[in-house]
Amino acid sequence: MSTPLLELRGVSVQRGSRQVLAGVDLALLAGTLTALVGPNGAGKSTLLALLAGDAEPDAGKATLHGRALADWPVRELALQRAVMAQDHAVHFAFSVREVVAMGRLPHPPQPRQDAEIIEAALLEVDVAALAGRDVQTLSGGEAARTSLARALAQQTPVLLLDEPTAALDLRHQERTLRSARELAAQGRCVVVVLHDLNLASAYADRIVMLYEGRIAADGSPREVLTREIIGKVYGQPVQVIEHPTRGVPLVVACDD
C-alpha cells in the first residue's frame, strides 16, 4: 500500500450550531479518481475545501504529503494542487486564453512550454474555439469549462473539482470525467464532487458517500452504489441495474 498523498484524520467542522463534518477519516492515493457524492448539505464542498487548504478543520488534521495544509506556503501549495471551485465569475473582461494562462502563474515562466500547456488545456475541455472570447460573455457551461482548463493548466499532482459537471451538457459531462480519469491514470490524485451517481459509477475508481457530515459508504462503485445504501442516504427509492454497455452499476430512481 503506497502512502496517501492527501489525508484527513478525524476532521470536524462546526458552522454555528451545525456539525458540517464529524470525525471524517479519509486517505487519498495518487493514480485514483475519487468521487465525493451525497445529498445536499452532506458536507461535500466543505470536505473539498479542507482538502484544498481553503479552510481549516475545527478538530483533526488535514495533510498533504504528511504536512498540515495550513503550514504550506500558498505558492508551493499551488504547485501541488489545483482547484476548480463552483464560482466561475471573473471580475474583468479577460479573454478565455488569458484566464487559462493564469493557471501557469505558480510555475516559473517558460514562455514556449507554457503556451503549449495552455493550448493543450484549451483543447482538452473544448474551449479552444472560444480562446479569444471575453469570459464575461460566456454561458455558464463555457465559463465552467474555462475554469477547468485553468486548473488543468496548473499541472499539479492533486486535482480537486467541485461539481465540475453542474452546468454542462451531456457530452461535456462525459468528456470532463474522461479527462479526469485519464489524469488519474497518469498518476494524479483526482477528487471530484458529483451529484450524478451514474457519472460517478462510470468513471470513478472509488466513491466516498457522505451523509450528515460522516462517511456513509466508501469503496468501488459496485460496493457503494447499492439499493440499500442509496435508499437510506438519499431517502429516495432506487433500483440498481447493470449498465447495458459499460459494465458498471446504473442507478435509476423509482416511485415508492
Binding site: 504547485l79 471551485a85 471580475h91 473582461a93 488569458e98 472570447r133
Partner: protein, 346 residues
C-alpha cells in the same frame, strides 16, 4: 454567431504614444492661461532658468509666471492625475468591482478628513509634512474600514460597496464639516481648498513632496500587476493559483491610500479620475494590469493637465475649481456606467 473576440493592441506602443501626447499637453499648458505666452517665450524662460539663454531676453513677470506658477502646476497636476487613476485601478482590482473610485467609495473623503484634522488641530502649523501624512492615514483608515465592511464575496457586490462607501464618505464629510465649524478664519481659507479641489496653489515644494511618494506608489503598484490579475478570479481562486491574498490586500490598501493621500493633500478632492480613466484604458488595452496600470497613470495625468488648463482658460481671469470641473465631467459618466451595468450582467 458573432462572438466577442478580444483584441489587444501593443501596450508599449500605446504607452509611448500617450506619453508623447502628455508631454505635448504639459508643454502647451505652460503658455496657456489668463496670460497667454507664445511658445518662444516659454522656451526662452525655461532656457534662461538653466542659463542657456540671456535672462534679459524675457520679462521678470513672464519668467515668474512660467517658472513659479505654470510649470509646478502642470507637474503637480500630472502627478495627482496619475496617482488618482492608478489608485482607482488598484481599488477596482481589490474590490473586484469596476465602480470603485477613491472619491466614490470614500477613500478621498477619509484622506481629506486626515488633512483637515491636521490643519485644524494644529499639527499643520507644527510641521507642513504632517498634512500629507495625516491624509495618508485618513485614506488608509477609510480603505480598511470599507474593505472590512464590503469585501468581495462577503458583502454582496456593487450595492454593498457603494452604500458602505457613501456612508463612510458622509461620515468623513460630516467630521470635516465639524472641524470647519470650529476652525479659525485663517484655517478656514485653506479648508475650502480641500473641499473644492484645486491646483492653483501648486508650488515647487509641493512637487518635491509628492514626487517621492508617487514614485514609491508607482513602483509598488507595478509590482502588484500580476496579483491584481489573479484577484480578478475571486479571492479563493486567486489563492488556488498561489496568491497570498491577505498580504496582497494589505499592500493594495496601503499603496492606494498612499497615492490618494498624496493627491488629496496637495490638490484636494478631485473625484472621478480614478473611475473614468481605468475604464477608458481597459477599453483600450484590456484588463491586464501590466499595461492597465501605467497607461491609466499617463491618461490620468493627461486628463488633469488638460482639465486644469481648461479651468483657467474658460473664464479668465477667474478660475473654475478643478474639483467642480472633474465632478461635472465624471458624474454623467458614472451614471452611464451604473445604468449600463444594470442592463447587462451585474
Amino acid at each position: 454567431m458573432m462572438s466577442a473576440q478580444v483584441r489587444r493592441p501593443n501596450g508599449a506602443l500605446l504607452l509611448c504614444l500617450l506619453l508623447t501626447v502628455l508631454l505635448g499637453a504639459v508643454l502647451l499648458s505652460f503658455g496657456t492661461g489668463p496670460l497667454k505666452l507664445p511658445a518662444v517665450d516659454v522656451l526662452r524662460a525655461m532656457a534662461a532658468q538653466f542659463g542657456l539663454a540671456d535672462p534679459q531676453s524675457i520679462s521678470a513677470r513672464d519668467m515668474g509666471v512660467v517658472w513659479q506658477l505654470r510649470i509646478p502646476r502642470a507637474l503637480l497636476g500630472a502627478l495627482v492625475g496619475a496617482s488618482l487613476a492608478m489608485a482607482g485601478v488598484a481599488l477596482q482590482g481589490l474590490f473586484g468591482n469596476p465602480l470603485a473610485d477613491p472619491g466614490i467609495v470614500g477613500v478621498s473623503q477619509g484622506a481629506a478628513l486626515g488633512a483637515v484634522a491636521a490643519i485644524v488641530l494644529g499639527a499643520g502649523a507644527f510641521a507642513v509634512w504632517l498634512i500629507p501624512l495625516a491624509a495618508f492615514a485618513g485614506g488608509a483608515g477609510a480603505t480598511t474600514l470599507i474593505y472590512l465592511l464590503a469585501r468581495p464575496g462577503r458583502g454582496e457586490g456593487t450595492a454593498t460597496l457603494l452604500l458602505v462607501g457613501i456612508a463612510i464618505g458622509a461620515g468623513c464629510s460630516a467630521a470635516v464639516g465639524f472641524l470647519t465649524y470650529i476652525a479659525s478664519e485663517s484655517e478656514l481659507q485653506s479648508l475650502v481648498f480641500w473641499q473644492m479641489g484645486s491646483l492653483a496653489q501648486a508650488s515647487w515644494s509641493d512637487v518635491a513632496a509628492v514626487t517621492p511618494v508617487f514614485v514609491i506608489g508607482l513602483l509598488a503598484l507595478l509590482r502588484l500587476a500580476t496579483p491584481l490579475d489573479m484577484l480578478a478570479l475571486g479571492e479563493r481562486q486567486a489563492r488556488h493559483i498561489g496568491l497570498d491574498v491577505a498580504r496582497t490586500r494589505l499592500l493594495l490598501v496601503a499603496f492606494s491610500a498612499l497615492l490618494v493621500g498624496a493627491a488629496v493633500a496637495f490638490a484636494g478632492s478631485v473625484s472621478f479620475v480614478g473611475l473614468v480613466v481605468p475604464h477608458l484604458v481597459r477599453m483600450l488595452v484590456g484588463p491586464g494590469h501590466r499595461w492597465l496600470l501605467p497607461l491609466s497613470g499617463v491618461v490620468g495625468a493627461l486628463l488633469i493637465v488638460v482639465a486644469d488648463t481648461a479651468t483657467r482658460t474658460l473664464d479668465p481671469p477667474s478660475e473654475i475649481p478643478l474639483g467642480l470641473f472633474s465632478a461635472a465631467l465624471g458624474a454623467p459618466f458614472f451614471l452611464w456606467l451604473v445604468l449600463r451595468k444594470r442592463g447587462g450582467r451585474a
